[in-house]
């Protein structure tokens, strides 16, 4: 049989493909529906948090920080309750990471504050002496891409039925509504920060969220995201 296959490339290729694909079909399909069900009380990210998540992804924070707490005492003592499948139902993509050069961040919102994050991004060794994390000064200078964040929220609402605007879930609304809510969520974060540049850039937002001079820096969105991890 095998010597026959060696002379018939078409059937050889089909045979190889079936043998390879078999594992995928058996392994992956059955898990899809139960895994996708969100845990109760889990809410989709707000547009500002999504903008922060983009910053997190852009800088590949997940190359060093995991977001997956394994069910071991040492991990739950250190980071908090272990992870459940349904907690990730709104994570596109997932950000579990594969290596911990820094600690897990799955529930970092429970034990770190806005000003801690600010100092940590600006100068990591100021809050964790001997940290080997890079400094991220450019996060304080660049503006968050609020349009793309809104586009993502709207996309997942339309395509994947993520329950924005439903009762008990975050509101998304029109672009104007979303802008206002982003400024609203950013305000207490900016207030808790000390960086002058960030504060000044945010000033026009207080009067009018749609002002073209209204700037929400990347660091603000990132902190909004990190604070939401609970």
């Amino acid at each position: 049989m095998f010597s026959w296959l060696e002379k018939n490339p078409f059937f050889f290729a089909v045979f190889v493909f079936v043998v390879i694909a078999y594992a995928g079909v058996v392994e992956i399909l059955p898990a899809f529906s139960p895994n996708a069900r969100p845990i109760e009380s889990k809410k989709p990210y707000t547009a500002l948090e999504l903008a922060g998540r983009h910053v997190y992804i852009k800088e590949s924070c997940n190359a060093c920080h995991s977001q997956l707490i394994r069910p071991f005492k040492a991990e739950t003592d250190r980071y908090g309750a272990y992870s459940k499948a349904g907690e990730y139902a709104y994570d596109r993509p997932f950000l579990w990471g594969s290596k911990r050069t820094g600690p897990d961040l799955m529930r970092v919102g429970n034990y770190r504050t806005t000003d801690w994050h600010e100092n940590h991004m600006k100068k990591p060794v100021s809050v964790v002496p001997s940290s080997i994390m890079p400094e991220y000064p450019h996060l304080f200078k660049k503006n968050s891409d609020l349009d793309t964040a809104y586009a993502e929220a709207l996309t997942v609402k339309k395509v994947f039925n993520v329950p924005y605007d439903e009762e008990g879930y975050p509101k998304l609304g029109t672009y104007e509504d979303a802008r206002k809510m982003m400024v609203e969520q950013a305000t207490p974060i900016v207030d808790a920060m000390s960086d002058e540049e960030v504060k000044q850039a945010f000033e026009p937002c207080r009067a009018n969220a749609l002002d073209s001079k209204c700037e929400i820096k990347e660091i603000v969105a990132l902190i909004a995201y990190l604070n939401s991890l609970k």
Binding site: S3, E6, K7, F12, V16, V19, I20, Y22, A23, G24, E27, I28, P30, A31, F32, N35, A36, H54, I57, E59, S60, C61, N62, A63, C64, S66, L68, R70, A74, R78, S83, A85, E87, Y88, A89, D91, R92, P93, F94, W96, S98, K99, R100, T101, G102, P129, S130, S131, I132, P134, E135, H138, D145, T148, Y150, A151, E152, L154, T155, V156
Partner: protein, 489 residues
């Protein structure tokens, strides 16, 4: 009857291009790897070029540069060489296939260039080894389809009826990666749906645990079908050619090929042990990863036994030594992978530096050595020049082996230290160490690892220099050598 292959005049144009690309991306990818290894030991290096030089930005560049730049170029260089020879047909005979081959290379180069720029800019989907955003994904699919047309086109016009085992492995690489890549990169471009925001942004089709499942189905197996399957294709051709020995056992080849095909994809689950995917899946991932030892060692033993009675060649030829060491590292690395997939060991090893350690003894030892050996073997036949220096090869071999050993041993110790420290409790039931204590403890190992990486990089420069000198100023080869590649001094 005269052997038709002697009158064919194989055309190595595309093979040559990919050989150069392989060396170029090897230098770039390994260079960035060495830099980020030093960054872990000396964090000030992170900000030497602002946001574009932080570890997070460079790490995907390193992995993509080495996996897709260096290794895939190497695989394709060997394909455009081996494919013609074992199918007994020259690319020159078909204008169409020649065009496809050239288009394959050119679109690949353009895509790599775009990939580098976009990754520097932080445009990434965050999925490991699949970081490229959707427009570049489409370009990758085009490249892959072109390669597939090349493979099956050449097979279509072949003179040799039976497909040699290397061809099986090339076909499997093509099919496996194609399937995995398509599924893992399913994403929805947000601009197309909403008309707003960035063109380069997309959201994954899968959420959370499902996304992780698909990603590691890809992450493990793409590595498998690029790092393992294609490299086995290479060694099954180049070792018998270089040593003048037939492959030890046809039955063992058959057994290891088909069982590898069947078992490999199950093993992706070992990346998800103790995660939130269902328990039975984790168990399957663990069991099949252990079983994977059989086909892996089957191939490796088949390769090693090919040298039966001819072991003196290892002493005489550095090229044979590269290949035999590659196989040995393959055995070592797959054994290590199986050990790490055992649940209780995974609990300790997961998220630690032992994981990159494991990846690197496979890639540096097995893939890197085999790729360089293949290029060394092809050079006298493609460029009709002797290899410039046997001595450089010997030194390169020693330096790189030392580099690999330093790399994986330091990461092995570092990983286990890290894992033990994370789980240590004192007599009062509180955690003994804070996280930063483990970071401090790893400092010396990070330095050793970086030095290991640097040694390997130096060896790679010696390799590049040796090839350069061979092509430009070495003695010409009049008649193509049957086995043992001619080497000067």
């Amino acid at each position: 009857m005269a052997n038709p292959s002697q009158n064919l005049g194989y055309d190595y144009t595309v093979a040559k291009w990919f050989m150069f690309a392989c060396i170029l991306f090897g230098i770039i990818g390994m260079g960035i790897g060495t830099l980020i290894a030093f960054q872990l030991a000396f964090p000030e290096l992170n900000n030497i070029a602002g946001e574009y030089s932080t570890f997070g930005r460079l790490r995907p560049l390193h992995t993509n540069g080495v996996v897709y730049g260096f290794m895939l170029s190497g695989i394709w260089a060997t394909w455009y060489y081996v494919g013609q020879r074992v199918l007994k047909v020259s690319l020159r005979e078909s204008k169409f296939l020649m065009f496809i081959g050239k288009a394959h290379f050119i679109i690949f180069m353009i895509t790599i260039l775009l990939a580098v720029v976009s990754l520097f800019a932080g445009v990434t989907t965050s999925k490991e080894y699949a970081e490229l955003e959707w427009p570049f994904d489409i370009a990758v699919v085009v490249i892959w389809v072109l390669w597939g047309m090349g493979i099956f086109g050449l097979i279509g016009i072949r003179r040799e009826k039976s497909l040699y085992i290397s061809i099986w492995y090339y076909i499997a690489t093509f099919l496996g990666v194609a399937m995995l890549y398509l599924f893992n990169n399913m994403e929805v471009p947000t601009k197309l749906v909403t008309g707003m925001g960035s063109w380069l942004h997309s959201v994954s089709m899968y959420a959370g645990s499902n996304d992780a499942l698909i990603q590691w189905w890809w992450g493990h197996n793409a590595v498998a079908f690029v790092f393992t399957v294609a490299i086995i294709a290479e060694i099954y051709y180049f070792l018998p050619k270089e040593s003048g020995q037939p492959v030890f056992s046809y039955k063992l080849s058959l057994f290891s090929f088909w069982s590898l095909m069947f078992i490999y994809l199950w093993a992706g689950g070992h990346h998800l042990i103790y995660s939130t995917v269902p328990d039975w899946m984790q168990t399957m991932g663990s069991i099949f990863s252990v079983v994977l030892i059989l086909p892996s060692w089957g191939s490796a033993i088949n390769i090693l036994l090919t040298m039966k009675g001819e072991w003196h060649q290892v002493k005489e030829s550095p090229l044979i030594k590269f290949m035999i060491f590659a196989s040995t590292f393959y055995m070592f690395s797959t054994l290590e992978g199986s050990i790490q997939s055992v649940k209780s060991i995974n609990a300790l090893a997961h998220f630690t530096d032992w994981i990159p350690g494991h990846v690197h003894d496979g890639t540096l030892g097995w893939v890197g050595f085999m790729t360089m050996a293949a290029i060394y073997h092809m050079t006298p036949r493609v460029f009709k020049k002797e290899i410039y220096s046997k001595k450089i090869m010997e030194y390169q071999f020693t330096i790189q082996t030392l580099g690999i050993v330093l790399f994986f041993s330091s990461m092995w110790i570092a990983g286990i230290t890290q894992g033990m420290m994370w789980r240590a409790y004192d007599d009062y039931g509180t955690l003994t160490y804070s996280f930063i204590d483990t970071v401090i403890a790893l400092h010396p190992y990070f330095i050793i690892r970086a030095i290991g990486g640097l040694l390997y990089l130096i060896g790679f420069f010696m390799f590049a220099y040796n090839i350069y000198k061979s092509v430009t100023s070495s003695r010409s080869v009049e008649v193509e050598p049957k086995s043992a590649s001619p080497m000067q001094a």
